[in-house]
């Protein structure tokens, strides 16, 4: 009776994350990477689930342990991942989801699957911002493969434009913010607050320009910021710090450290403006 092709899941996690200045797939909330969260979510609902990677990413720490489909066409964005998946398993529909959508829940995806129209090329949500289809949380039927290839061969590699110009099932999102993605540290910080992430207590030290702008040498603060990058973003909002992260260094517990280090309660954190000794 059920003649629908089965659904495999594909997590898109190959992006360069330029605006985040770090690999978005590696961002952590609730103790797991975004990539792992997305993989587990799809795997609950799909027969099999894969992560989409570029050939240079197959061995990296957060990706190596998950089932992968490697892009064939490099440097063209999400369509490369969809195309590679369709080539590997041409008879299934693909539920494609980007790894930077922290508000997508099992309910969101079940809604998408329930309202799937297998007679169309794809089923997608309508963006609550501009009314256009959102390609990065959508189901691509097997029949869409030739359209994807056609699109890759053309000069236009935009998956959204493909959906706009195809016959698809377009759904209103059940929740206005379900498809909000996180492209910037500001959005990530907002996401952590909205998701109710646990806060930690930090001691922050301010020097020189920062000391003057914050009006204090140090302070104890509670925050959901789980990395120096997020903490700095929060402090920029609070104190109007204008120096950008690439102009600064960060120290945790009196050691130079990395912007993506996971902070824990009790850590002493200092941001180091451009130095001028001598």
């Amino acid at each position: 009776m059920n003649v629908h092709s089965s659904i495999y899941g594909l997590v898109l996690a190959g992006g360069a994350s330029r605006r985040m200045h770090t690999d978005k797939a590696a961002l952590i909330h609730d103790g797991k990477t975004q990539l792992q969260h997305a993989y587990e979510l799809l795997n609950k609902l799909c027969e099999r689930t894969f992560i989409s990677v570029r050939d240079t990413q197959t061995q990296d720490a957060i990706r190596a342990s998950l089932p992968q489909i490697v892009d064939v066409h490099n440097g063209i964005g999400p369509l490369a991942g969809i195309s590679a998946a369709q080539k590997q398993h041409p008879n299934v529909a693909w539920l494609v989801m980007a790894c930077d959508l922290p508000f997508v829940t099992e309910d969101t995806l079940q809604y998408l699957i329930r309202h799937r129209d297998t007679t169309k090329l794809a089923t997608a949500f309508r963006s609550t911002y501009d009314g256009l289809p959102e390609p990065l949380c959508s189901i691509w039927e097997p029949v869409s493969a030739s359209r994807v290839e056609e699109w890759i061969a053309s000069s236009n590699k935009c998956p959204r434009k493909l959906l706009i110009n195809s016959t698809i099932q377009l759904l209103d999102s059940p929740n206005q913010h379900a498809l909000d993605n996180i492209n910037t540290p500001e959005e990530h910080l907002q996401a952590l607050s909205t998701l109710g992430s646990p806060s930690i207590s930090l001691n922050v030290q301010y020097f020189a320009l920062f000391r003057e702008q914050a009006g204090k040498r140090s302070e104890q603060l509670n925050t959901v910021a789980s990395s120096p990058a997020l903490l700095y973003t929060e402090l920029q909002q609070r104190y109007g710090f204008k120096l950008t992260m690439n102009q600064l260094k960060v120290a945790i517990n009196n050691e130079f450290s990395d912007w993506q280090t996971t902070l824990k309660s009790g850590d002493h954190v200092a941001f180091i403006p451009p130095v001028a000794g001598g």
């Binding site: 030290q205 020097f207 020189a208 320009l209 120290a251 050691e255 130079f256 180091i272 000794g277 001598g278």
Partner: protein, 154 residues
């Protein structure tokens, strides 16, 4: 062994030089950084130095150990001022003793260069017109533009 220190009072160079004495040393090279009365076209009246001392001391000890190893010198030391300095004050002193002069000069140069680049020390200049500014910080504090979605959908 404390090879690097901060001082909030004038640097006593004669005393520091004695700590570099070594029977195997054939000489000693030093560098003194002085507060000058101008910078980038502005008349400077005085300076304030501020440091993240805990981190700076660790990093400076690394720099000095690197210099000793790299150039095979006998001893090396550095003292940096913090607080308010007037024109002509010594802001930083570096001293190196070694068997021969060439390594002493090179190690001394290495230490002052690395100190300027790596130590979390900040300098606020006060100008004759009453303005002041943190060197290297004020003029580069411009928000970088963000990369947006690069094309429109029609």
């Amino acid at each position: 062994m404390n090879t690097f220190a901060f001082s909030n009072a004038a640097i006593d160079i004669a005393a520091l030089q004695q700590t570099l004495r070594d029977p195997a040393a054939g000489g000693y090279a030093s560098f003194e950084g002085w507060v000058r009365n101008h910078n980038e076209g502005l008349q400077v009246t005085r300076l304030e130095y501020e440091a993240f001392e805990a981190l700076a001391i660790k990093e400076a000890d690394l720099i000095i150990a690197e210099a000793i190893k790299k150039y095979g010198v006998l001893r090396a030391a550095c003292v940096h001022r913090v607080g308010t300095l007037e024109i002509g004050d010594i802001a930083v002193w570096v001293g190196v003793s070694s068997a021969h002069r060439d390594e002493a000069f090179k190690a001394c140069r290495y230490i002052i260069d690395e100190v300027k680049h790596r130590l979390p020390i900040w300098k606020k200049e006060h100008y004759i017109n009453g303005d002041s500014g943190w060197v290297n910080c004020e003029r580069c504090a411009e928000a970088s533009h963000q990369l947006g979605h690069a094309h429109l959908h029609r």
